[in-house]
């Protein structure tokens, strides 16, 4: 009995000791940094630019911290800062812009609305539609650093060798894919996995898998023709194995590249520089870009999106808000700086300058810029930032990709994907319409 009494006493003391620290929520609170320095979190790639800003602003006390680009890292750190009511960065770079939906939410209360802080004339300078992922309920919570519109990448050498024409419509794409699978077994014309499948095909088709209406409302409706046409397009291609379910960032994908098996790959703009050569080992002078094929009944080749980054300003920045906004504005809109960055700039004027070097890049079989620029200006509206991004990807794999793998009915799998998406949206605090 004595032992139990001692244990109960210890537990009670522990409860009393710990209970007094209970706090919740992230909204409100003062600036998290007592040292009165501008705390900036950027990934490795953005670090030299942040350091350049620091050098040109000697009067500004700045602390730049490198953060990993891993999904979930920033929300994790911010939720801990919310818990301790200190330590928030004044400026943060998001390698995954969907996290803006989390950080702007009432629960986190981290992202500051920028409408009154960044003039409309500056925001209008961004590629049309590129700030949609930063906008919730009419308020803009971030500025995009770069965007990742999808284009139809293709191997010009293989196309010529096989005697195929670059498809302009998705019907032609399917036809070419089926012929290639028949005549050249093992050849693929696309990849369907996670965000690389959902963002490319469903994103460009305008299928409402995650249309954000506000921070608390999202439209999910996979029964419409914009969704079923994707299933109908991919069903025969899946049966003939003309599309692969191996995720393109898997090192195993290089087997396809080295073996001359990638005929076409609708994929984001950054695949040109970062995947075909370094990862897939496709030699120089073969890869070219074309606009995405057009969907039936439309005459504009809409692009999907997979990737891109964004900058956020903290609502806890207090007296440093002006400096924080100035830094973000410079990082995203400075033409000279953005022209040197690795991926497609979101700021339109910078994208033009950035494209000059890209046009002359000997890696490409032909100038990819016309297709990339067209894609950047044809982002399919509606594809928004949501708090259930991870579930959006994994539920797609659990339903649609599983059906592709098992030769199941892709139209039917849309129903189960919709159920999972609605459940995910509900759990994340959305009203799903």
């Amino acid at each position: 009995m004595k032992r139990w009494r001692a244990a109960s006493l210890a537990a009670a003391v522990a409860l009393v000791l710990c209970g007094c620290g209970g706090t919740g929520g992230g909204a409100g609170g003062r600036s998290g940094d007592a040292k009165d320095e501008l705390l900036v979190w950027v990934d490795n790639t953005r670090m030299p630019a942040a350091q350049q800003y620091e050098k040109t602003h000697p009067d500004l006390k700045m602390r730049i911290v490198t953060i990993p680009p891993d999904a979930g890292y920033v929300p994790t750190k911010v939720s801990l800062a919310n818990r301790t009511k200190s330590g928030w960065p004044d400026v943060v770079f998001l390698a995954n812009p969907a996290e803006a939906a989390t950080l702007a939410s009432e629960k986190f209360g981290y992202a500051a609305p920028l409408d009154d802080l960044v003039p409309k004339s500056v925001r209008d300078g961004f590629t049309p539609g590129s700030l949609d992922t930063c906008t919730f309920g009419g308020r803009t919570y971030c500025l995009r650093n770069d965007i990742a519109p999808t284009v139809l990448w293709y191997d010009a050498t293989l196309m010529k060798r096989y005697g195929y024409r670059v498809p302009k419509t998705w019907d032609e794409y399917r036809q070419t894919g089926l012929e290639a699978a028949e005549e050249h077994p093992g050849t693929i014309v696309g990849a369907v996995n996670g965000k690389y499948g959902a963002g490319v095909y469903f994103g460009s088709s305008g299928c409402p898998t995650r249309d954000t209406l506000s921070l608390t409302e999202v439209r999910i409706d996979l029964g419409g023709p914009n969704c079923t046409r994707v299933a109908d397009l991919l069903q025969p291609l899946a049966r003939k194995k003309a599309v692969t379910t191996v995720v393109p960032i898997d090192p195993g994908f290089s087997k396809l590249g080295k073996g001359d098996k990638i005929l076409m790959l609708p994929a984001p703009a950054w695949f040109g520089d970062f995947m075909f050569g370094p990862a897939f080992k496709v030699p120089e002078g073969r890869i070219a870009a074309a606009p995405m094929p057009t969907w039936p009944g439309e005459n504009k080749p809409y692009a999907g999106q997979v990737g891109g980054g964004a900058f956020l300003v903290s609502s806890h920045a207090g007296g440093r808000t002006r400096e924080a906004v100035d830094l973000v504005r410079w990082m995203t809109t400075d033409v000279a700086l953005q022209a040197k960055q690795p991926t497609y700039p979101a700021f339109a004027a910078a994208a033009v300058k950035w494209g000059e070097a890209k046009s002359k890049d000997p890696y490409y079989a032909s100038d990819p810029m016309p297709a990339l620029t067209a894609a950047a200006n044809a982002l399919r509206p509606g594809f928004g930032a949501v708090r259930f991004e991870a579930d959006w990807q994994s539920s797609f794999n659990d339903t649609f990709v599983k059906a592709v793998d098992s030769d199941g009915n892709l139209r039917d799998s849309l129903r189960s994907w919709q159920d999972k998406l609605k459940a995910a949206a509900g759990t994340s605090g959305y009203t799903a319409g």
Partner: protein, 314 residues
């Protein structure tokens, strides 16, 4: 601590407990506190206190009582069923295989003592030297055909990429193989140590009575080391049901293939960090604690884990 002591001979406990209490000297009491004190302190600071704080957090938010709201939300979460099913399947696969591997190898080592035994102990132990995230990273390479030394074997199994190896249900198989490799070695050493400490006269008596090696193992050795087996079960159940690091690290190999809420612990982590909901995270963590305590209680009562010690003190 009692669980790791070898059974004492029955003669050691002939005096009544009351008489013993009177005979305790202050030096002995002090020694007991010195030995138990640090453990008690750690238990309170890192065990009871966080659990108490979690209990508080699961019922109180911003100073106001929220009742069972967080508990209900957790139990109704559509991801909980999948996560629980994953962990249960993993435990059903991993625990029996682990226990069978540990028992068979430890008993084999004990039955054939010699120079090779210590070498083999080291060989069995080595895979377990790499644990946690490092082990997960190592196994990520093992199951990626491009970097794996076992790529011909993976080819035979139809695994052509890390996506194949880590998508769908395959991840449970990978985790099972990994879990056995990582944990078996350490437990073999513990169990072999326990077998070595068994009273020689009992084993010799069995031999004289003509018991075969199998019967000796089954009817003599196993009952005498059952507390150790129970300990292996309880510890392994606790670590297996809280599987977190392995699926988290493996998911970096083929992003998007393993759901970030694959296991129950991962779901609790997502609540706390990405959803910013500490109340739900606390509720789910406590539910996991309850499951672990219940499982431990079942194992303890079923294997009469403390029976030897309590009967000694009578």
């Amino acid at each position: 601590m009692k669980t790791l002591t070898t059974p004492r001979p029955p003669t050691a406990a002939s005096a009544p407990a009351v008489t013993q209490r009177h005979r305790r000297c202050p030096a002995r009491t002090a020694a007991v506190w010195i030995l138990v004190g640090p453990y008690t302190l750690f238990l309170v600071v890192f065990g009871l206190a966080p659990a108490g704080y979690a209990l508080w957090t699961s019922f109180v938010e911003d100073g106001s009582f929220t009742g069972l709201r967080d508990w209900a939300a957790v139990l109704h979460d559509y991801r909980l069923g999948d996560a629980a099913a994953h962990v249960t399947t993993y435990l059903l696969l991993w625990l029996p295989i682990l226990l069978l591997t540990v028992l068979s190898l430890a008993f084999t080592l004990h039955a054939r003592p010699g120079r090779a035994t210590s070498v083999l102990q080291l060989v069995y132990y080595l895979p377990g030297a790499v644990t946690g995230s490092a082990a997960a990273l190592l196994w990520l390479f093992m199951v990626s055909p491009d970097s794996s030394p076992f790529s011909p074997l993976l080819d035979l199994m139809g695994i052509e990429s890390a996506t194949d190896a880590l998508s769908g249900g395959s991840v449970i198989a990978v985790l099972t193989v990994m879990g056995v490799a990582v944990h078996a070695g350490g437990w073999i050493v513990v169990l072999h140590g326990a077998l070595n400490a068994l009273p020689k006269d009992v084993l010799e008596a069995a031999q004289v009575d003509g018991a075969s090696a199998w019967r000796t193992m089954w009817h003599v050795k196993l009952p005498m080391v059952r507390t150790y087996v129970a300990f292996v079960l309880i510890s392994s159940f606790a670590s297996g049901s809280q599987v977190f690091v392995e699926p988290t690290v493996l998911s970096t190999g083929a992003p998007g293939q393993i759901s970030p809420t694959w296991s129950v612990n991962q779901l609790a982590y997502v609540y706390a960090t990405q959803d910013g909901d500490f109340g739900k995270a606390a509720a789910l963590s406590l539910a996991m604690l309850a499951v672990g305590v219940l499982a431990a209680w079942i194992v303890i009562t079923r294997t009469r884990m403390y029976a030897t010690d309590s009967s000694d003190s009578r």
